[in-house]
Symmetry: C2
């Protein structure tokens, strides 16, 4: 999609001011922690899949909670805006500077602090990659409840700050439901440590909830206590073909009662046909035609449990009931991976000028939504390519929309068209990707004036100078 040249648009800060800022940061934190603006690698000001944005005034990479606290206390004194940064895998451009900010990257404050096997909890630092958390959980005999494509590069602090979702939400909930305790630093440098280690804790306001999903605008997350789940045996994966979206809903109604179901992912016909043709080295289990494809993954922690047997029995029942037209059970890890490659649909990234949407509506309404959304787009752009796919069981679908020619005005019109349908149907314009910069103009499609007013009150209460991630969310 078209990228503003933020660096030019916002202007470089004056050298004198930047020199003074560097000096103040280095005096407070030491030269090891602070990188001067000119020396910052483009990685730190480039959002996922986009051209470089605004060069930050400085890069701070703390090694401790105290470093974070002192950075923010100094920034409050200097009225210096700060962008917190994790693994930069977000899709809403929430972790890059817009012009004039410093960037505070958590990458050096990483690692597992402890695991409590009896309680089933893991205590982690914000900069830890999600995959490291997952692997530590597995090594200790547990499973971590959230998984998503960016697991190798996203950081757990960022995943909490954006309340990441992913493909296991129907079983374990989103990131919010994994967080028992949290530590965050407020704009003024106050460390608010609520590192609760239990599922039940009703001692006053549950402060962590405010930091989860607020995209670094209310505080910077430093550590967390996360829930672990009983270890799942290797999963069983199947792809099935059903006639239409009604059949998807009926299949979901059956499958959600099966405790082994971890993922239930649907692909609309045009998406399935596209990825079936364009995913290298992968053969789709059955021809696309007009049906919907549903990927189901089952796994169990039960001693002696057999998720493959459960899945096979369920699908046989559904086939007999006329609910499923065709089904393929993966008989190797390779086959299961190929099914997931189709669903992840990276092939669609090759479409010209692709714009991705991430919306949610109650499961039963997604079929109508897709029809109305495609009709609205096609009425304006008869040649639009629009592909629907997603998690469905949790109400979340993604849309890939592509036009042969696109400029900024058209991109905005396309956004408005899709979000207009979401608004008409009372859905959410961001299911799991957050608001960041990209969806900020459309927040009002899902949230009322009263809600946005309350958000502003909270922002003013916790960050009165508007220093934390300015220009994001609100």
């Amino acid at each position: 999609m078209p990228i503003h040249d933020m660096a030019t648009a916002c202007g470089e800060p004056g050298h004198a001011a930047t020199d003074a800022l560097d000096a103040a940061l280095i005096a407070e934190l030491g030269a090891d922690i602070v990188t001067r603006s000119a020396d910052i690698e483009p990685h730190y000001f480039t959002a996922y899949n986009e051209a470089p944005g605004a060069r930050p005034r400085a890069l701070v990479r703390p090694r401790s909670v105290d470093d974070v606290s002192r950075t923010l206390a100094l920034c409050t004194k200097l009225q210096q805006p700060v962008v917190p940064q994790g693994g930069l895998t977000g899709l809403a451009r929430g972790a890059v500077a817009l012009g004039g900010e410093i960037v505070l990257s958590m990458e050096r404050f990483a690692g597992i602090e402890s695991i409590d096997a009896a309680a089933g909890t893991i205590t982690v630092r914000a900069g830890t990659p999600l995959q490291v958390v997952q692997e530590a959980a597995e090594a200790a005999g547990f499973t971590f409840g959230v998984d998503l494509g960016a697991r190798g590069s996203c950081q757990v602090g960022g995943a909490i700050a954006t309340n990441a979702g992913g493909t296991r939400a129907i079983r374990y909930g989103v990131m919010r439901e994994q967080v028992l305790g949290l530590e965050a630093v407020l704009a003024d440098g106050t460390v608010v440590s609520s590192m609760s280690r239990v599922l039940k804790n009703n001692t006053g306001y549950d402060l962590k909830q405010l930091f989860i999903g607020s995209e670094g605008t209310l505080g910077i997350i430093t550590r967390a206590v996360l829930r672990l789940r009983p270890k799942l045996a290797p999963p069983a994966t199947a792809m099935c073909r059903v006639a239409d979206y009604d059949a998807v809903v009926r299949l979901w109604d059956r499958m959600r009662a099966v405790p082994e179901v971890v993922s239930f992912e649907a692909m609309w016909p045009s998406f399935y046909q596209y990825v079936g043709r364009h995913t290298p080295d992968v053969t789709a289990p059955f021809a696309g035609e007009d049906g919907f494809a549903v990927l189901i993954e089952c796994a169990t922690s039960a001693p002696g449990g057999d998720a493959a047997q459960t899945l096979e029995t369920c699908l046989a029942d559904c086939f007999e009931a006329g609910l499923v037209d065709d089904a393929a059970l993966a008989t190797s890890e390779r086959q299961a991976r190929d099914m997931w490659l189709l669903r992840e649909g990276l092939a669609i990234d090759a479409l010209p000028n692709l714009i991705n949407f991430d919306v949610s509506l109650p499961t039963g309404e997604l079929g109508e939504f897709a029809q109305r959304c495609e009709a609205a787009l096609r009425a304006r752009w008869p040649d639009v390519v629009c592909l629907f796919f997603g998690h469905v069981g949790d109400g979340n679908i993604h849309i890939g929309a592509s036009l042969a020619e696109l400029d900024e005005a058209l991109a905005e019109e396309l956004d408005r068209t899709v979000y207009g349908v979401v608004q008409e149907m009372d859905g959410s314009i961001s299911a799991e990707h957050g608001i960041g910069v990209l969806k900020r103009p459309y927040l009002g499609c899902t949230r009322s004036d009263a809600e946005i007013g309350m958000m502003r009150r909270l922002k003013a209460a916790l960050d009165p100078q508007q220093l934390l991630n300015p220009g994001k969310v609100l």
Copy 2:
């Protein structure tokens, strides 16, 4: 426990002022909605298990969200404090007036608004009793995720406002994890309606989280969208005896991997012996002696699933492994109910001057906590009766402590002794009952100055005149 005579302590408001207040409320809301102070039944100013407290200045019983909004707007204008009230089943005295407030009871704004079977959600009004929600869920082919003893009289709005826990938290989480959407009215009368109907919704701050568990001090909850779970077949229930708390933890480590487990409740030996002797018409499945008793309930939504078979197999394995000394599987609903009656332990209410505690610590630390807590109590009061029991799998236990003689100073000393041990071990002084009035002096045992400071900032942002449930929580 000893009750202050609040009405006397706080003094009756002057007649002239009360008449003016009545007139203003009636002019705004109508005589049907407003009850004058003198006409209010004691029920509305009496906390569970206690003597009547302060008579409210007026009772308002709204029939609509608009009634709630207009009440609060008027109260803001008049600087009139308000106590929101649900079913009055709380154990922290959070729903009664302390002197000078009006009470706003949600009992008339009740009922199920809708059920979305495809999405698995139910939309309810705050005044609906929890049991009505549970029954509506069952009738629609679902199970509601939270259950607790007060189901028949507590209201769902109060259960959300206090983030109720209960006996199924290990399977479905606490009340917070059931709430997808919420509507609440701020102190100034602003209706903040965030009635999201999906599991994934990351559009700005998740405002509902602030109202959940804040005990009516930040807003008054009016409606909610709740998650429904696949319908569970009738459960299988067993009681087993294990040697010591270590064995309880090892048993939990096995049982949590079994997806059918809904409840895992432990009784310390002295508790089990006491309730075994004093619960009318119930015979304990095995003699008390020195072992711990564990109640396990299994249930499944899987088609053709057999929870009783699963439970029996698991217990046989545990018996063979030497982990369980004895086990009784309930063979009738009556037997299962009797096991629950023992665990619920209403028999201990007959102990003189009983004080109940509700604390949480990581599962692996509860054994040591109980030892240290009992030792600390016994060092001061050699004859104290202290009985430990609770949910354990979620880190939550209850303590019943009884002294033959008790006055206010001794009660406070007893509180401080128990909460002192909780604080030393970095636990929570309120797992599921909230803070209310009773635990307010001890909030600092679990929460730091920074946390309490942040709570105050939030309170000031949303209720600057401190009109909502004053004297509670903070």
